[in-house]
């Protein structure tokens, strides 16, 4: 079976194709070379005049795991206005900020996404996270495992164990948790909060282990480098949400000293202390620093106005943020000598100075960071806003006059305090294709994703060109996954399950002896029971496990 997508305008940055009209051919789930005679195609789909991109990839979205499920359970009011019946989707569910797994999968596909990555999977909670992801249909998925707040790692660091030892531990954890990458959240700070430390700066000691966030970051970034993971250490830095944290973020980038890293939801880490309200934008210096350091990539964590829920492993900062919960309730947890979490419902208001400035800061970052290959489109779903607001965000980036109209509606002091009104940049379709397709695929090492080249997986999104970019990106005409049409005119037409992406780097098995002892002594699950077997992910054919090769570097 050979399918010809005829006459589409292709935006395929991975192959340097910028809006050229070309045909695409699909066979057995892959993009193949054009046959000598186009008439060989058994099926022709006319997409002339349409915009064609690879399927989109969300590099940072909280779609599964304990804190997501806490948010679902504690917020029935979040879902009641957004229930989806079985007529609309293959299975009933609900949206909005804390959607049902199924609804999340359907809605991602309906926006043209084919892969989503859960960025904060605790080893102790990994099995549940994978069960939730298995119940997230349509998209491929994977998770980044949380390290750097677990007592085993901090103790090893305090004991000055050599880098090989730490690397073996990171490798064991990646394999045991079936993770694709490593994330650190408030390095050492979640742990410090268990010892009643309320604040932890980059060079401040964890009061119990005597190691600093800088030590944790460097050790983990080096372990990730040494293991040869495609995705660099994924960093949620210190002092999230604290006015003045821009200095911490700048110091963090410098501390990396050339080591590759990904800084996540940087908007929440770009705050100055200028002005009457002691809250100002730090986007300009941060963008400048990022522009000058090509070892660093980022995602923004844009906020949008409205109700949402913040879900984070950062129990220390969520405890502080719980004072602003709306409605007034929140759940915090200390978890299994591993990490913690905090779930705080929140209402971002456009008339509120701080919220309005947060909105502007995110957009400033998007517009001031030059290289779209190093900046990814996220709202840190649902922390800044639900992922369903991406089309709106794309319009804000692509349409200067729309952006200015929106700027005119927010808190006027915040608008005046932001440089947003003076930023003329408009993202092109090519740049949008970079930041939502080609760049995340490269960053995660997902071969065959984010590309329309011959040999790529036939993950393709076809949009009707529309000057209203929000409308256009809300409702693709076709979404193909592995060559099958899964969405037509913004509606799911075929339910598929999607694979799980993970790495199993090699390591010296000697570490397992220490881990066995540690688990027996301190934990309530044995090391071997924590480990998730490959067959659990495969689940008798329900799931698929894609293992990515890693090549150790000295």
């Amino acid at each position: 079976m050979l399918t010809r997508l005829k006459g589409g305008r292709l935006y395929d940055p991975e192959n340097g194709v910028d809006g050229e009209v070309r045909d695409l051919y699909i066979r057995s789930g892959r993009i193949v070379a054009a046959p000598a005679d186009p008439a060989e195609a058994n099926e022709v789909i006319d997409v002339s005049g349409r915009v064609v991109m690879a399927g989109a990839i969300d590099i940072h979205t909280h779609i599964g795991g304990g804190k997501v499920n806490i948010a679902r359970a504690m917020l029935p009011e979040d879902h009641l206005g957004d229930r989806v019946g079985g007529r609309r989707h293959p299975h009933a569910g609900c949206g909005h900020a804390a959607p049902a797994t199924r609804t999340a999968g359907y809605r991602y596909a309906e926006m043209g996404y084919v892969a989503c990555f859960e960025p904060a999977m605790l080893p102790a909670n990994a099995r549940q996270a994978h069960l939730e992801m298995a119940d997230t249909p349509m998209v491929d998925k994977g998770a980044y495992v949380l390290l750097g707040n677990d007592d085993f790692f901090l103790r090893a660091l305090a004991d000055k164990r050599d880098p090989d030892y730490l690397r073996d531990y990171v490798a064991w954890t990646l394999g045991a948790a079936q993770a694709l990458a490593v994330k650190v959240v408030n390095p050492g700070g979640i742990n410090a909060f268990k010892f009643n430390q309320r604040k932890l700066d980059l060079d401040e000691n964890n009061c119990h282990y005597g190691v600093t966030p800088r030590d944790v970051l460097l050790a983990l970034a080096d372990a990730v480098r040494g293991l040869g993971l495609a995705h660099p250490l994924h960093i949620h830095g210190c002092n999230l949400g604290v006015p003045g944290n821009l200095a911490t973020t700048l110091d963090t980038i410098q501390a990396l000293d050339g080591l590759r890293a990904h800084l996540t939801h940087v908007q929440f880490h770009s705050y100055g202390t200028e002005g009457d309200r002691k809250f100002s934008s730090g986007a300009a210096p941060i963008a400048e620093m990022i522009n000058a350091h090509d070892n660093v990539s980022l995602d923004v964590g844009q906020i949008m106005f409205g109700r949402t829920v913040t879900e984070s492993g950062d129990s220390m900062r969520q405890f502080a943020g719980s004072a602003f919960a709306s409605p007034k309730k929140w759940v915090g947890m200390d978890i299994e000598c591993d990490a913690g979490c905090g779930v705080v419902p929140f209402h971002y208001r456009d008339r509120n100075f701080v919220n309005a400035l947060q909105w502007a800061i995110g957009l400033e970052l998007f517009l001031l960071v030059d290289d779209p290959w190093r900046i990814f489109l996220t709202t840190d779903h649902p922390n800044g806003a639900p992922f369903t607001s991406y089309p709106h965000l794309i319009r804000l980036l692509m349409d200067r006059s729309f952006r200015r109209d929106m700027l005119a509606t927010i808190n006027p002091d915040a608008a005046a305090a932001s440089t947003l009104g003076s930023l003329d940049r408009e993202y092109s379709l090519y740049e949008i294709a970079i930041m939502t397709r080609a760049a995340p695929a490269r960053s995660l090492g997902l071969k065959g994703f984010g590309s329309l080249g011959v040999g790529a997986r036939a993950h393709i999104t076809v949009y009707k060109d529309d000057a209203d970019r929000e409308k256009m990106f809300t409702c693709p005409e076709y979404v193909f996954k592995d060559g099958q049409v899964i969405v037509r005119d913004g509606r799911v037409v075929k339910e598929v399950h999607g694979a799980t992406h993970a790495v199993h780097p090699e390591f010296d098995r000697v570490i397992e002896r220490d881990l066995d002892q540690y688990f027996d002594r301190y934990m309530t699950v044995s090391k071997d029971n924590l480990r998730i077997a490959d067959d659990e992910i495969r689940d008798d054919g329900r799931g698929e496990l894609v293992l990515h090769a890693t090549v150790a570097r000295p």
């Binding site: 679902r72 359970a73 079985g86 049902a100 010892f195 309730k329 759940v331 309530t524 044995s526 029971n529």
Partner: protein
Amino acid sequence: MPPTIVSRRASKPSPTSARRGVCPHCALLCDDVELRPAADGSHAVVANGCRRAAQRYARPAPAAEVHVAGAPTTLEDGIAAAARLLKRARQPLISGLATDVDGTRAAVNLAERCRAVLDHAHGDTLARVARLTQTRGWYATTLSEVRSRADFVLLVDTELGDRYESFARRCLGPRAGLNDDTPRTVGFIGPAGRLPRDAAPDLRLPCRSERVAEALLALLAELRGNPLAATRPAGLARRSLTELAERLRAARYATIVVTPAALGAACEPVLGAVCDIVDELNRDGRAAVLPLGGDDGAQSAVSTCTWLTGFPLRIGFGEVISYEPQAYAGTALLASGAADALVWIDAFGNCPEPPPGCPADRTIVLGATPSNLAGTCAVHITVGTPGIDHFARLVRTDAVVTLALPQQRDSGLPSIAGVLTRIAEKL
């Protein structure tokens, strides 16, 4: 979903040697029990475990029987009869729901197919706890944090007897502390009859269950520095409350343990007061609550249902999903006759009797124990126990750790997931 989820994931159980297992018999899911299998499919617990585990593991594998209208028949017939009954029903109820993650997945799918309401045998407690997180939230902790970090543990009117017996051994024993090795101390507030067997609290505040909430409010007032005027609040000596407040304040990491199911209707005031105390302690120090509960698959059911549908239990399927934590109480739906067909699920063998109200000829029982109901109800299928007769994943009491339990014996009993999926396919 493929038609059956009978697992190939378990390595074949070896016949006689003792091996480590994960115990499915309460929501602690102790993974240190040492089991020796016997020829009849039962197991002797040779190390660790508890009385409950010993008793449950001693059950031999029941025969794989299926009854339709009291007459023995094949699994195929039982499934067809169940499907016919559900097809005719106006408002089916799927309850009991004592099963694993895969069983709950299948139950949610079946409920969607036949527009059933979904509840659990422990639905009242689940609804009370859910309401608490939906109205105020809490700061909670997990088992390993208690085992290795908590230096003071307060047990509040807890039932650590029939269930959670191993909690004392695993989490209250001598501490190999991650913060330091100072000995852990334990406090208890509640009726003397509820003192746990293996924990020897060194601070006891004896108090009748009905007055525990009052005692906690007095403790909270003490912690806030404006003690109540009463000389003996909740009948307790003032001095003991002051001492308890001081212990909580002095702890580096205090944990307050509650067992919501044991509290009944007092769950909300007691748990609410505990959460207020934890919040008060967290202003300047560190503390957390550890609720123990979620037995008979309740935590697995509620977690799975929440991620699949967005709502915890007591949901119904119509045009959209409705969440009615009061109105969809299974017992009430049965008593009023609003539910005209019942699927009762008891894969752990602890809740064999459905609540009254549904005529026997409209009741389908999927149970792990042989039962008199087999002779009377419309359909009775003997099913396997998760983690004994088939591979299973179960969510632990803290809703964080999920364990994979290998199959322990080859009984040929079907799983809930397998049976429900096949029923749904016939609808």
